[in-house]
Amino acid sequence: MDDMYRDYILDHYKNPRNFGELDGATHTYHDTNPLCGDEITMFLLVDDHDTVKDVRFTGRGCAISQASASILTEEVKGKSLEELRTIDREHVLQNLGITVSPARVKCALLSLKALKGSAWGLTEWPGEQSTGTGTA
């Protein structure tokens, strides 16, 4: 268990970075994990040059989903929408730095799904139907 609940994971969970709503967000997307009710809303402020000037998230859920969201937002700021495309499942799981059991992978990836949803309306989310709602 110490494998999964490392100190930095618990720190991100208890003190999430970039947490809260983002006034003036240009892109938002809300998604849930139907299995457990975890929720993430991603807010992006994207400028005219397609660069993410600011990012925030709100949500509730388990340590894995919330820490994953917190870590992801840290990485996103300052990137172009194009660069966001390169962030995939493997990348997120690796960045999380822990081994996530199969049932928890959805938790770990919920924030990525919300991010992709906010950036492109989930067309980048292969093999899965949209279950969230957003504006962009």
Binding site: M1, M4, L10, E39, G61, I64, C107
Partner: protein
């Protein structure tokens, strides 16, 4: 905790002998811990006796049922129809033909919604249900209401998770076409006094469906005594294989209903332009039934009756009565549902402050303790409780007091990991 039972009172149930019938209960998890299976409200484990009954069909006389004129088919048909008779006796159904085999409780509710609901629920009609319902006894009615223009009323609960009987009475007074109500709550363990409630509902003219998915496995259930019109449950929660489920319905209603699924075995005569239906129960069993699963359910009923449903219920209450005070005495633990054992079955929902149920379940798993974390297909209930999810432990006849201790110990582990 008025009716708490002392631990010694359950010596009647020989749990050690029972456990020997369930090979899976002695398995170890990857972490090297012997499994502590406390997710019985999701599904139960299966005893040798059930697995052997099924294997015997496959290895001795397997053949498709009903239509075969040869001995193997006759033997398999007899086993299948014998299972129906056992199930009918088990729930005290007036006639075996009122017992329809379906995949699970969910299909059972949908069968009633499609085959009874579409002809009997009209625009403006009122369907009454409760915030305790499993999605399977809520979404079919919600969708039927949306399709027909009926309205749906959702009766609430009090702080202890008990149904608001006054609100229910008020809803019935307004006139309800259907009451769809769970017997016992899979989220909180609440027992609804269905006998009284059904009497009130029938007096007001409502048809009543009882979701007995969480009661038939754990309590003596008697459809004649309850007085409802339909009752559904799932075999996999009562020692039988997934794929076996039952909808019981009054013959007088079933006879009048249109069929649900159309195809082989449910017909009497098919012509290009018109078809007539088979007799009950086969009118509702289109295509090749999951007959081995149903035979497994028959064997499960035998097993449960051998142990005794009263004894099983008492045993589970004893476990609950042992676990609840320990949980309530644990710092940071919130327990949902009735605290009085008289109102409940062995389903215990709780949360540990500061730790999401998913994380709780993951940490429990590392200790071999299997519990459910999530909304338990009870989202309206979770909203009512003001939480997205709970951790749920649920008992069955093979669980032990030591397993309760393992759960309490795992809470300590979770708090240590989360530095709480």
């Amino acid at each position: 905790m008025t009716s708490m039972l002392p631990r010694t009172e359950v010596a009647t149930l020989d749990v050690r002998t029972i456990r020997a019938d369930f090979p899976v209960l002695s398995r170890k998890t990857a972490s090297g811990k012997t499994v502590v299976y406390l997710d019985n409200a999701a599904t139960s484990q299966k005893p040798r006796q059930v697995l052997d009954a099924m294997r015997t069909v496959y290895e001795e006389h397997n053949a498709n049922i009903h239509r075969g004129v040869y001995e193997f088919s006759e033997r398999t048909t007899a086993a299948f129809e014998g299972a129906r008779e056992r199930v009918a006796r088990f729930i005290n159904a007036p006639e075996p033909r009122e017992v329809i085999f379906v995949r699970n409780a969910t299909e059972g509710v949908n069968l009633v919604a499609y085959a009874w609901g579409r002809d009997n629920i009209k625009s403006g009609d009122r369907i009454v249900t409760s915030v305790l319902e499993h999605h399977s006894n809520f979404v079919p009615w919600q969708q039927l209401a949306a399709e027909t223009g009926a309205t749906i009323a959702v009766v609430g609960i009090d702080e202890d998770g008990r149904l608001d009987r006054d609100q229910l009475r008020a809803e019935l007074r307004k006139g309800a076409k259907l009451l769809a109500l769970t017997h016992t709550s899979n989220g909180l363990g609440t027992i609804n006094p269905v006998r009284e409630i059904v009497a009130e509902a029938k007096a007001s003219g409502a048809t009543v469906l009882v979701d007995a998915a969480q009661s038939v496995p754990h309590l003596p259930v008697d459809v004649a005594d309850i007085g409802c019109d339909f009752l559904v449950f799932s075999g996999h929660k009562m020692l039988a294989p997934p794929g076996s489920g039952v909808v019981w319905g009054r013959a007088s209603l079933l006879l009048k209903m249109r069929p649900f699924l159309y195809g082989g075995d449910m017909i009497s005569r098919v012509a290009i332009d018109t078809t007539t239906w088979n007799e009950l129960p086969w009118k509702f069993e289109a295509g090749t039934s999951a007959y081995v699963d149903a035979i497994g359910l028959g064997a499960a009923v035998d097993y449960l009756q051998g142990v005794g449903l009263e004894a099983i219920h008492r045993h589970e209450l004893a476990l609950t009565g042992y676990l609840l005070p320990k949980l309530l005495a644990t710092d940071g633990v919130v327990v949902y549902g009735p605290k009085d054992l008289a109102d409940r079955v062995g389903v215990v929902s709780f949360n540990i402050e500061g730790i999401h149920p998913h994380d709780v379940a993951t940490i429990f798993d590392s200790e071999g303790v299997c519990v459910r974390a999530g909304h338990h297909c009870n989202q309206p209930l979770m909203n009512r409780l003001g939480t997205a999810a709970t951790t749920r432990a649920s008992f069955y006849l093979y669980n032990t007091f030591e397993e309760c201790d393992a759960l309490i110990a795992a809470i300590g582990t979770a708090k240590r990991v989360f530095k709480i």
